[in-house]
């Protein structure tokens, strides 16, 4: 690694930002559906992020609407997907219809 190779691309110094900012991409597949996360891309600004998203994620009419969101603007629940944050929902089976007994013969309930 120490011998300089003129064929190699010069690297910027440490701390210098190399990539364009990261954007998360959400696509609405068709009317009536929500936007769904499909992946990410890099772009210098929102306009180009949208254009790149169209080219990368909708080459086959996969969407009728695209959102791009700076990845840095997303706040997530916690560093771990399995999380006590969701524990409060765990012991409330009575929120689901299957919790309740329905007498035999009673319909449309």
């Amino acid at each position: 690694m120490s011998t300089p190779d003129p064929g190699r691309v010069a690297r910027p110094g440490p701390g210098e930002r190399r990539d364009w900012p990261l954007w998360e991409v959400f696509v609405r597949a068709r009317r009536g559906l929500s936007h769904v996360h499909v992946g990410s891309l890099h772009a210098p600004d929102a306009t180009l992020a949208l254009r790149n998203a169209r080219d990368v994620y909708t080459r086959r009419q996969e969407g009728v609407s695209v959102w791009v969101v700076p990845a840095s603007a997303i706040t997530a629940s916690s560093p771990d997907e399995k999380d006590p944050f969701f524990a409060p929902a765990g012991d409330k089976a009575y929120r689901h219809p299957t919790f309740y007994d329905v007498p035999d013969g009673v319909r449309q309930l």
């Binding site: 691309v9 990539d19 992946g39 990410s40 210098p44 600004d45 771990d80 997907e81």
Partner: protein, 315 residues
């Protein structure tokens, strides 16, 4: 924060339940580095893989074939992007991965170090190279790492057109004039063995396979995948009226599979080590294209910065 042992247990339990690992989950360092290496190599292959076919865009025999080839090559660029995007969820940057490729520290599939000498090669690549890639990628749709598996689902949806357009090119040639048929056969003669090598060394010699299988990154072994591929292409070659250049290729009724002849693993190693016909040209082209695009990337950043200053001063 739970102890490492507890986190590791949770990780193993997630795998055992055949659930996906997501980016912010705890994962063993080896799992992370294995995935980064594999996804990056996969991404690099999609990107470098544009070169052999790109070579024929300007010389495609008709406007229709040209439009198809442009769309196919553009898809490969897209596949590279899906995969870089998946790799970045593991905490590496795109720029780092690009550097590692340019410095020769990360690899791409050896298949792209062979030249595309005639138009029939475009057909052979679509049928065999994309066909082998699909065989490899279908089980990866169930890979334990969520972002990689999801990228593979997108990729697989797009690949089937690649394989069909290649097959159609070869079918047209093999049912054309005797010279066209000879051209198709010649392409098949050159691409058959390298495409079998795409699945990697035999299971007995594959260094990382067992661990990747345990982590459910890999679902089927190299030899199993190769067998699937051979079983798929034999009848397809018959329909083309072309001969696979493998005199030992025979149906084994006992196994219910085709047996193929021995693969020249020395050639594989030679090409992998950089001594294939096009290794130097592929890397030279890639580095040059990246360097020549630098001003575009810089200009876009400068323009974005100027626009955001204007936006602030208006507000």
């Amino acid at each position: 924060m739970p102890e490492t042992a507890e986190l590791a247990e949770r990780f193993e339990a997630t795998l055992a339940a055949d659930q996906r690992i997501e980016p912010r989950d705890w994962m063993p360092e080896g799992y992370r580095t294995t995935l980064i290496r594999q996804i990056a190599q996969h991404a690099h292959s999609e990107v470098i893989g544009m070169q052999p076919e790109g070579n024929w865009i300007s010389r495609a025999p008709s406007l229709k074939r040209k439009a198809i080839l442009v769309a196919k090559v553009q898809d490969e660029a897209g596949h590279g992007l899906y995969l870089y995007s998946a790799a970045e969820t593991l905490g590496v940057s795109r720029a780092e991965l690009t550097d590692l490729l340019h410095d020769g520290q990360q690899k791409y599939s050896s298949i792209f170090n062979y030249p595309t000498l005639t138009w029939a090669d475009v057909g052979a690549i679509g049928w065999l190279v994309d066909g082998a890639a699909i065989t490899n990628q279908i089980p990866l749709c169930r890979c334990s790492y969520g972002p990689y598996a999801r990228a593979m689902v997108r990729v697989c949806k797009e690949e089937s057109f690649h394989q069909r357009q290649g097959y159609e090119i070869l079918y047209t040639l093999s049912h054309g004039s005797s010279r066209q048929k000879a051209m198709a056969q010649d392409a098949l003669d050159r691409w058959y063995w390298p495409s079998l090598m795409m699945f990697g060394p035999p299971d007995a010699e594959s260094t990382h396979s067992a661990r990747s299988m345990a982590w459910r990154i890999k679902r089927l072994s190299n030899d199993e995948l190769r067998q699937r591929f051979v079983d798929m292409i034999v009848p397809q070659a018959e329909a083309l009226g072309l001969t696979l250049p493998d005199p030992q290729l025979t149906w084994n009724a006992e196994r219910g599979h085709y047996d193929h002849g021995p693969i020249d693993w020395e050639e594989f190693t030679r090409v992998l080590r950089g001594h294939g016909p096009c290794n130097a040209a592929r890397m030279e082209h890639k580095r040059r294209a990246h360097a020549e695009g630098a001003w575009v990337r810089d200009a876009a950043v400068a323009y974005a910065a100027k626009r955001s200053v204007e936006a602030v001063s208006v507000a």
